[in-house]
Point group: none
Chain length 233, copies 2
């Protein structure tokens, strides 16, 4: 799971290259576009969480593109410019940009602004942990509920912590000890009984058929593994 998806829009190849390496290194998934028009197209296929938008481009400028992008409230927009004038800033923000960075910018500052902008998204990607979908399963960590099909259940604190840890490490087989220490603390690495009891109650809540678990799979002699997809038979 990445920290978020970012679309870089700039007509200078060098900027695009720098951005791509920097942001990829920071854990984001990147795509780029050379113009406003291309950006609007790529948004549909790439579905970014955030768009880094150069204000000054040939053809459709950043401002015009911004006004179009704004239609989707689930996309954050940070505009880039070389000019540090008040007029530019006000125009950019009122066009719907969430933030504004002046070139040349410092990388740490850009990253911080990206984090801040993503944090504000209605469905924040970093708190993609707030709501998780796994096939027919929906988990709302804020409301502390899981919905499996039509049945919605409430999660107790330990159940929630356990499930969260499993989901954060989905597809990986998490050892008993690791789970216990994550949920109960460093002194409980041996209380495998706890795990069994709580895994059972979790399964009762999220598995359509608790005797044939599809999501919380047991890895014998190792631990448990959360699987998004139905298990291959």
């Amino acid at each position: 799971m990445s920290a978020g998806r970012i679309l870089v829009v700039d007509d200078e190849p060098q900027i695009r290259r720098i951005m791509r390496t920097t942001l990829t290194g920071a854990g984001y998934e990147i795509d780029d576009a050379k113009s406003g028009e291309e950006a609007l197209n790529k948004v549909r296929s790439f579905r970014p969480d955030l768009v880094l938008l150069d204000i000054n481009m040939p053809g459709m400028g950043g401002l015009a593109a911004c006004k179009d992008l704004r239609a989707d409230p689930n996309i954050a927009i940070i505009m880039l410019t070389v000019r540090n004038t008040e007029k530019d800033k006000v125009e950019a923000l009122d066009a719907g940009a969430d933030d504004f960075v002046v070139k040349p910018f410092s990388i740490p500052e850009l990253l911080a602004r990206i984090r801040a902008a993503l944090r504000r998204l209605p469905v924040a990607p970093q708190s993609a942990l707030e709501r998780v979908r796994a096939g027919t399963l929906r988990i709302d960590f804020g409301a502390r509920t899981v919905t499996a099909g039509v049945k919605t259940s409430h999660l107790t604190p330990k159940e929630l912590d356990l499930l969260r840890y499993l989901i954060q490490h989905a597809t990986k087989a998490v050892p008993h000890r690791e789970l216990l220490q994550a949920v109960w603390g460093p002194d409980y690495g041996d209380q495998v009984d706890y795990l069994r009891v709580f895994i059972k109650s979790l399964r009762k809540k999220i598995e359509s058929n608790p005797e044939k678990p599809e999501h919380i799979v047991t890895e014998p002699w190792v631990g448990y593994r959360f699987s998004t997809d139905p298990e291959p038979e």
Copy 2:
């Protein structure tokens, strides 16, 4: 109806004065505070949509105050500073600020940033929240009354604050501590007894069957949650 409520936090009287006239002129309701501590207190009574927070103040600094304010996602935070260093910016943004303005700033830019920040708020600005409907429930914050079905009741100040906070964070399980700090203030984080007493009286007023609460749901070991929909079984 105003465009929103803004709390100005700065230790320099002159800044506060300028801000007050400027922002009032722009259609906002303003209150101000001289320190971080005062800000945290005033937040409760004034209930701003946005806090303009000077980063450099005697006593509790802007960064510390920011981290506390951040608990409520329905408040936007813009930090002010005289220093334009990268370190300051990154710190401010990572402390939870939504944006960052360097003094001396241009008024139009500040106003544009305020508009952008308010636009991103998850819940509409307070001014639009005078009346709320939640299923069969109607709440009139101006008249301080709730109507559940045919029964209309008067709400005491604490009841109103508590209910308001719960509703603004509807569907989310709000921790005891957060509720207490939002209603009673930062020093009352442990008085869980207060909560129980007032939750009870709220339930008596808004639940059709207070023994089976449908709106104010208790989340054991965590806090309470306001639910619009009937509870799933």
